[in-house]
């Protein structure tokens, strides 16, 4: 697959409903009906939305409506077509649209990015059962990415979604080997381009997308600030920014888990929402790939916290992200050209793509 793509992301609550159905489920129904090439439902570990109610799987009482993130990617026309159905579902939550393109893994192995020196996010859409020789596909992919000096990679396990336009829902029984799983890597364009040739050889022609990203911090080193962008484009369409903080669940700051500190402070300072997703395997910076080990009492999986907000407020949240990642963690920023927040009958923003900035 090659050419431009569009990525739709929905940040919802696990128990949000649309009509009689569960919203996340109804959303994947829409995507499957439109035969969207790749989509995934990810269960969050911690977070809050516009209602400011904290949800965390750390405490039993606060774990009854955890965040859910649905990500879908396909050609812009197909996503736009599905978007009509998705918007008609109603319900609360945050919807974002981001420009991406198919990385053409395995089709053009020498494929590079727009400009040398640019940084990117590579997303590999694997099946849970994907293999690379004798090892698991995701673990082998992370190893390749690390070998090529990519700044970080995180494996996220899906519970539902579509691959090749077909519904892939995890069931309580059965191997679930066809259910989607993501490998999300951020780093320098050259490193990703070099890695993609090896990844293609390893995994075959799996769907993969590339997005523009800026790596802001890596293990305490300040590399760049998020791009300074105006609040709207020339036509007056709102622009948004997304910050992502990658660190292990075992990474701590001020005596508390890093991600918990970040989410707690964001909520106290009045952010509209934040979501923490736990991965199953991955690394960032110079750390070796890590995940849970059999019979170990402590978890060592990677996790990522995502916050989407206006450019002005993103500056505040970046200052906060800088503080919690003073020693460890990877911080990236992205431009989000369309976002719509719906809460309690009120909506802000919209789903028309703002013009490309810069």
């Amino acid at each position: 697959m090659s050419g431009p793509a569009l990525k739709l992301t929905a940040y919802l609550g696990e128990r949000d409903r649309a009509g009689g159905a569960i919203l996340a489920d109804a959303l994947v129904d829409c995507l499957a009906r439109r035969r969207v090439a790749a989509s995934i439902v990810l269960r969050g570990a911690e977070g809050f939305g516009p209602a400011k109610v904290l949800r965390t799987d750390r405490l039993l009482t606060l774990s009854d409506d955890l965040p859910v993130v649905v990500v879908a990617v396909d050609a812009p026309e197909r996503i736009t077509a599905a978007l009509g159905d998705v918007a008609a579902l109603g319900g609360d939550g945050l919807l974002t649209l981001e420009r991406a393109r198919w990385a053409g893994l395995g089709e053009r192995p020498e494929h590079g990015l727009d400009a040398p020196g640019e940084e990117a996010k590579l997303t590999l859409w694997l099946e849970r059962g994907a293999r690379a020789g004798r090892s698991a596909g995701d673990v082998a992919a992370v190893e390749v990415l690390r070998r090529h000096g990519v700044d970080g990679a995180t494996v996220l396990l899906g519970v539902d979604g579509t691959l090749a336009g077909e519904r892939r829902r995890a069931r309580l029984r059965g191997g679930n080997s066809g259910v989607p799983r993501l490998v999300l890597a951020v780093g320098a364009g050259e490193c990703l381009a070099a890695a993609s040739a090896d990844l293609a050889a390893l995994l075959g022609p799996v769907p993969a997308t590339l997005e523009r990203v800026r790596v802001c911090r890596r293990d305490g080193a300040a590399l760049a600030a998020p791009r300074e962008i105006p609040a709207t484009d020339a036509a007056g369409l709102g622009l948004w920014q997304k910050l992502t903080v990658f660190a292990g669940v075992h990474d701590r700051v001020d005596g508390a888990p890093l991600h918990e500190t970040l989410v707690r402070t964001l909520r106290r300072r009045g952010a509209a929402g934040a979501t923490t997703l736990r991965g199953t395997w991955g690394y960032h910076g110079d750390h070796a790939p890590h995940g849970d080990r059999l019979l170990a009492l402590r978890r060592r999986v990677p996790a990522m916290t995502v916050v989407v907000d206006t450019p002005e407020r993103t500056r505040c949240w970046f200052a906060l992200a800088e503080r919690v990642t003073a020693e460890r963690g990877l911080v990236t920023s992205e431009i989000v050209p369309a976002a719509r927040i719906a809460a309690g009958g009120h909506t802000a923003g919209g789903l028309r793509l703002a013009a490309r900035v810069g």
Binding site: L54, R58, L60, T61, L62, V249, G255, A256, R264
Partner: protein, 121 residues
């Protein structure tokens, strides 16, 4: 045990579960998601009430209905253990031990205070 006691255990058991949910949620939403204060509040308050019942020497069916039915579903050992294990998982050993120690020590204090109050009734 009489049929009425059985029915009473079932009804007050339901009520205790609802009470626990309400108190735990109220405390947890105020204290944030890091330390299980909600579960501690539920267990300590339930323990104190059981102390009162013991002190007042409540007997017969009333005791079974109130202690086993209501408090049995109001307080929770399993959640206390689960949340302690979660703290350990995240490597928060200090909070893990704090959660275990606070519940044990304050629990004994609560039951003793409750018993004194119950005896004075």
């Amino acid at each position: 045990m009489t049929t009425i006691a059985w029915v009473g255990v079932a009804m007050l058991g339901g009520l205790g579960a609802v009470g626990r949910l309400v108190l735990d949620a109220a405390v947890s939403s105020r204290t944030g998601g890091l330390f299980p204060w909600g579960t501690l509040a539920v267990n300590l308050s339930g323990t104190a009430v059981l102390g009162v019942l013991a002190g007042a020497a409540l007997g017969g069916d009333a005791r079974v209905v109130a202690a086993t039915g209501f408090l049995g579903s109001f307080t929770t050992f399993s959640t206390w253990m689960l949340e302690s294990q979660r703290l350990g998982e995240e490597g928060d050993v200090r909070r893990l031990w704090l959660n275990l120690a606070l519940a044990l020590l304050l629990g004994l204090v609560a039951v003793e205070l409750g018993r004194l109050i119950g005896e004075a009734l």
